[in-house]
């Protein structure tokens, strides 16, 4: 039972779609079939791009060395470090359960909060997925979104660091800094 609930939580979109189709076939079978056809056509149209995107994802996984990126992020402290973090974040791919622990390790190796925040924001760019975005929304949309997210990653990082510093006991901040000095 618990496993079923967990599965449903992980596959929320699928469960939602199935539930809505059950309802749709009950109230208007003709329209439900039409909907299924529209969804299927859209899927077939984008299928080559999906295949290419996941092939690219596999290649990214073997060529982009996450540990090397992590090592770069742990060094430096100024705006340059935050800007580099924003760039590094854009090429980082992987699910949350890989990226979060990785960045936690980076943080523990002395990276400032602004760097972690910027990486996580820029991580939303997801370079290997871009072909799919262009295919469905157009080149202009995709380029504008990537540029704006990568730029926004820098203020997001700094604001996050500011929030992390508000009203924290001095000892906690000092221990943060001590980590940096140790590095």
């Amino acid at each position: 039972m618990k496993r079923l609930l967990e599965w449903m939580r992980d596959e929320l979109l699928f469960v939602l779609a199935v539930a809505l189709y059950v309802w749709a076939f009950a109230v208007a079978p003709d329209k439900a079939l039409q909907a299924l056809a529209v969804g299927g056509r859209t899927f077939l149209g984008i299928l080559p791009i999906i295949a290419a995107v996941f092939a690219a994802l596999g290649l990214f996984n073997v060529w982009v060395d996450k540990k090397k990126i992590a090592a770069v992020l742990g060094k430096g402290g100024g705006i340059r470090a935050v800007a580099i973090a924003s760039l590094a974040g854009t090429i980082l791919v992987g699910p949350v359960y890989v990226i979060f622990p990785l960045l936690k390790a980076v943080r523990e190796h002395g990276a400032r909060w602004a760097v972690i925040g910027a990486v996580l924001a820029a991580w939303a760019v997801k370079v290997p997925m871009v072909p799919m975005e262009i295919g469905m929304l157009g080149l202009r949309f995709s380029v504008a979104r990537i540029a704006l997210v990568a730029l926004a990653a820098i203020p997001i990082g700094y604001l996050l660091e500011w929030v992390m510093g508000i009203r924290r006991p001095v000892a906690a901040i000092e221990s943060d800094e001590r980590i940096v000095i140790d590095e």
Binding site: F14, A17, A32, A37, G39, A56, I156
Partner: protein, 162 residues
Amino acid sequence: MLERYIGYAYLVLAAIGFAYTYAKSHDKARKAAQGGLKALRGVALTFAGVFGLVGLLDIFVPPAFIERVLGSQGGFMSLLAGSALGSVAAGPPVAAYPIAASLLKSGAWAPAVAAFIVSWTLVGFVSLPFEARTFGPRFALARNGLSFVFAMIIGLLMGWVL
């Protein structure tokens, strides 16, 4: 139709990438293929759900409704709705694009759709507990809150750029 040709062009590029990787190291190429397939298997059901929802959206939801909730007349409220919708949505970012395209086609305001996509990728409502466990609740709440606001700002700027 055009997008299908673009897709084939990408496939050719990916094949070249694999050929190059295979020439460098058989093992690396095998790992890349396994990684890609694993990722694809992980989102297969999500894709089924998403394209199912795209069909439902197209047939069952009248464009007038989407225009009212996410249309340009809604202004700030449309932006807020777009960002909120993207935040609670669960699923990989690739799932956001088909839905966004469908919304745009039905007359949604471009900045609201942009806010939807950006918050989908930036704000992780479902992964919030995991994020709080990893970085602490303050970090998780602040990051997701900031990202929510920035999704709306980026959406507005996109409307201006496009």
